[in-house]
Symmetry: D2
Subunit: 263 residues, 4 copies
């Protein structure tokens, strides 16, 4: 038995500023978890873990509203469908089914929230640097998308003609004085798209992207908040698959269009 060290590199401890734990306490961002458990809600803790402070009442309500808005959209949405298909073959590892659902939350399914926040940040930067109005910026954004033949992130929905979650979110943001330039530019883009392309109402990705921008979150958080909320729905979908359906019941009909038999 030979024994040669493949890596001599000493190991450096990983650094973190999120959670500290010792023998008898756990702290998130310096706050005692035991106390958070009795005094805070989960959505406040989501905010705390990501921002390093507890939210105000308005911030807390917006995070709650977003998490609820994205929690489920039935078994036919790609994330839930992926979870269900994995669950049909894998009854022993529910975490595998939930993880497959998370993996479907890519650039096309719910990815528009991230793209929207990047678009809003760039647009607002442009308004500032070139002294443009939000309507002017929105006009440029819509023209550029048309010229490239690309879809505008955050507009339109394959199921809803009007996404019922958008108005609720924007109204909540206004109620708490938290609707800012992000929401304003998103609405300007909706107007410009309706004028120059066709009516394309803001969907939940556009709505949460605008609100999260105004709350000061980085673009990636649009995906993270979608995942956190959606996992609630995915677990319910997997549980329903396990309890109401037989293993291997899912069979997708397929038409073969390839080469004919060659031997």
């Amino acid at each position: 038995m030979s024994r040669s060290p493949t890596t001599q590199t000493p190991f450096s401890a990983w650094k973190t500023s999120i959670t500290d734990a010792d023998d008898t306490t756990i702290r998130y961002r310096g706050r005692d978890v035991a106390r958070l458990m009795t005094e805070a809600s989960f959505s406040e803790s989501v905010f705390l873990l990501h921002r390093g402070r507890l939210p105000t009442e308005g911030e807390r309500r917006l995070i709650d509203a977003i998490l609820i808005a994205v929690a489920d959209h039935g078994p036919g949405s790609p994330s839930a469908a992926a979870a269900r298909v994995v669950a049909t073959g894998n009854r022993a590892a529910p975490e595998a089914a939930v993880a497959a659902g998370v993996l479907a939350i890519g650039d096309k399914h719910a990815g528009a929230g991230v793209a929207c926040m990047q678009l809003l940040a760039e647009g607002l930067q442009l308004a500032l640097s070139d002294s443009l109005s939000l309507d002017q910026v929105a006009g440029r954004i819509v023209s550029a998308a048309r010229a490239r033949g690309e879809r505008l992130p955050g507009l339109g929905h394959r199921v809803h003609s009007t996404d019922p979650r958008t108005a609720v979110l924007f109204n909540l943001a206004r109620e708490y004085g938290l609707a800012g330039d992000g929401v304003a530019l998103m609405l300007a883009i909706e107007r410009a798209a309706s004028a120059h392309i066709k009516p394309l109402p803001i969907n939940i990705d556009g709505a949460l992207g605008a609100v999260l921008h105004d709350l000061g979150f980085p673009p990636l958080f649009a995906k993270f908040v979608f995942i956190i909320g959606r996992v609630a729905g995915l677990t319910a979908q997997v549980y329903e698959e396990y309890t109401d359906e037989k293993p291997m019941r899912i069979r997708i009909p397929v038409t073969y269009e390839g080469e004919p038999p060659r031997d």
Copy 2:
């Protein structure tokens, strides 16, 4: 181009009792999502999605407390470590890193909650069928585990001598009159284990398992609630890895102990 139908089976629509969506509304378990967004918290919606009704105040507080309790335990826990390792090689797909974290939530990491709920259900069934006291049942459970050389689920923790989250959860359950036979039997098992093995305080898996049993949840929900809560921490861990660390910075030192060179 040949064209032969591989599957003639007609497709049956998937059935669900969780979420309904039409052109302008979305409903979870019959409740309008727009209204939930303004009136409910996320933890209430988690309860609604899984149970079909909104929780009472006490139930809501216990779900919040559990979700907070499991949200993070630092980057060294297997779920966060898996997310971080994937993030070191994959900066373009944060959903991949979060999903890897979910995949670590298996039978050994946080799986004790499920095992605990099964143990409690069986133990309480035995108490009923054989007219035994909870202490008698606990004694049998501990003896059986010792005889098989197995660990008791829900007791002991590799970091904490006393898990700071257990007492908080049990106190909340008592405060709302929601601590029942599950909590009582779990405490009896802790006493029996301390008497016959060694002091093994109830950990968060045991605590949430006992409370969820008394709230009427099925065993699988112990894993689901852990995943929902932990995803909040995993997203924060992935974001910290992306912003504070360079790609491919993680290198695990390795010692090779296998065959010497053979050619």
Copy 3:
């Protein structure tokens, strides 16, 4: 900025007997990868990585045959369907789609190989300890499954009345003198099931489980070899989805059967 070490534990290098790498060489099980690249096939390297030695010609051909047999079964199988559904929402991270396909390879989809190998090992142990013939053992196995109302692993297929891969594999094993007690007991189980239940031909899971038993592999390898082979098909499925289909084209029809509107 406080700075408290959460974990004082020093890090122990991970141990391995599989691969060793230094500045200029890589070795699998002691064999120079540069030389394997010119002298060996991939299936030989799969054998080497798992068994610590290169295969004989017969062993190599059986591994190749098994890997080919399981490589694909069209987009409707749960693993390919899961990969396709994730790919519909995630065009930026093909690894996410492939991983979702791997996650569907659970206890029900392809898990029968593992169950089969365990069943064969137990059955052969019983034949030895109780001096039973393989037909007697097979009879007991079939009776026990009928008594418990359980399906026998490795028999029957939802698409094929006769799995075309089984005979090929058994014939190859016989040709090289590698068919042993595992194959013999599997065939005895097929006979007993046909006599006492209904005609249930050995499927690919049963065939590869029997052959891998006779090659001396542990039960888990039945799942591993399925994953290795199937990943070839999953990558082709994901590529076809990316190139032939539009993002978000997959929509599973759903019927809602839950609570009516409640507000």
Copy 4:
């Protein structure tokens, strides 16, 4: 119980040109799987599934060599480390550990192969359109990367000063007359980088990217072939973790650098 159809959309069967299966046969790209099992190797089937035809001898040997080259790099590489970390918490679902390893194969870990193939395709296009020599193209590529402060894909390795797999692959390609413009441009980039930056030998990602370009594969195949090959190593790593190590043995040392206690 209300019953409202959420989706009226009829289901369209999924189309595929890869695999066809009926009651008694399975065909990959028109070829009988039973015959492939006796006549082909797995690497030939990988080629067939992705290209629609069987490879020539040289093509087959190059695919074998690439699959072997990437199969493993010890437990410290991000893909194997992710698989090991998931395995430490999840002993019941080996597919979860393997999938986590696949998820680490992102843009930074092995993603350079895809980036390389795109770079080579663009560079060769530029050579054609602007009548430049490969050395001129290479010079521009290196200058552009320096100007943007970006790393060149396919050059350098964190473990190897000379990647032992590169020369083997290029020699094999030359031996079979399959080394073309892709290999030539890759070597020109290596020379230009050495002249203007520092010695940066072509690593396995650069080598397989160049060879796969010359074999006519699309860029994504660089990631797919890496995944197919690496899964062989990941399964061996997970098996070693399961058999040689205790559950939950992995503990990453962590230093907390965040906010001090705040309550």
